[in-house]
Amino acid sequence: MLGYIPIGFAYGVLAQKAGLSIWHALAMSVFVYAGSSQFIAVSLFSAGVSPLSVIITTFICNLRHMLMSAALSPHFRGWSKLEQAVFAYELTDESFGVHTLSFKEEDPGKPEIYAVNIIAQVSWVLGSWLGCTMGGLIPTVEPYGLDYALAAMFIALLVLAISDRIQAAVAVVAGILSLVFMLAGLDQWHVILATVIGATFGLVVEECTRTR
């Protein structure tokens, strides 16, 4: 979860450079709380794109969380609707990765599950705030490698999420498809499409190897 401070920082710096007020930038981290779509929103705002387009882009970009929410759902059987909502509000790419890993061992229980989410969002907001306030002091985040924090985090989460050969094959297929779809111009849709096809591929392979 420490990974969130540098990524939040990079977001804050970017928002500050794009001319967003600190309150708007922080409001996004508190109320929207969606890393990659906040980065996209900042660049869209500075490009003067209409509010409606920003909302639609955010929606498409965050549709992948539907799949993450569905994937985690078997572990939330005894939870009330309100408790599920509180959890889902803070469900992000990174917290999804962390929860997937912890559910692999044994159910960590509500307090720990909430604690992971709260620590992650506090780190995100703190990082954003630091980035906004210190953005004027540094020209870019590149010399510090901060722009690599998100990719490095995904690498670690991916490596830890893979526990058998089929899952590894799924990761390869989904990754390549996602790249191909992105290059083909399926802007924002490439992740969700590649994920659905990749997971289906995994299921087919699993069924084929089992019957043999």
């Binding site: 059987r77 490596v159 290059l183």
Partner: protein, 104 residues
């Protein structure tokens, strides 16, 4: 501006909560449950791969693509240490170091 942020909040929150609301209380058919187990590696890889192979939107297979080069040691550290924090620090550190040394 705040209205836009409120709109972003709604379109972010509902996709996150609806599957949980509808699926958590049901017992899923075994095939659906198996399918869901592949979501995690699929979605993480689908987000990662384009960002390191084509960081600026075009395929960039070159040793100067630091995002791709740093991915190898980052992956190895994650694999060997089973840690989340360590690979992030190694990845960022290597990217920063390469820029300092070679000025890429």
């Amino acid at each position: 501006m705040y209205l836009t942020i409120a709109g972003m909040m709604l379109v972010t929150f509902f996709p996150r909560v609806i599957p949980l609301w509808f699926l958590a209380s049901r017992s899923l058919p075994p095939r659906v449950a198996s399918w869901l187990r592949y979501i995690s590696p699929a979605v993480l890889s689908a987000m990662l791969l384009p960002s390191i192979i084509a960081p600026d939107g075009a395929v960039y297979l070159h040793w100067e693509n630091l995002y791709l080069m740093a991915a190898v040691p980052t992956l190895l550290v994650a694999w060997k240490t089973r840690s989340l924090v360590l690979p992030v620090l190694v990845g960022m550190g290597l990217v920063a170091l390469a820029r300092l040394v070679w000025g890429i």
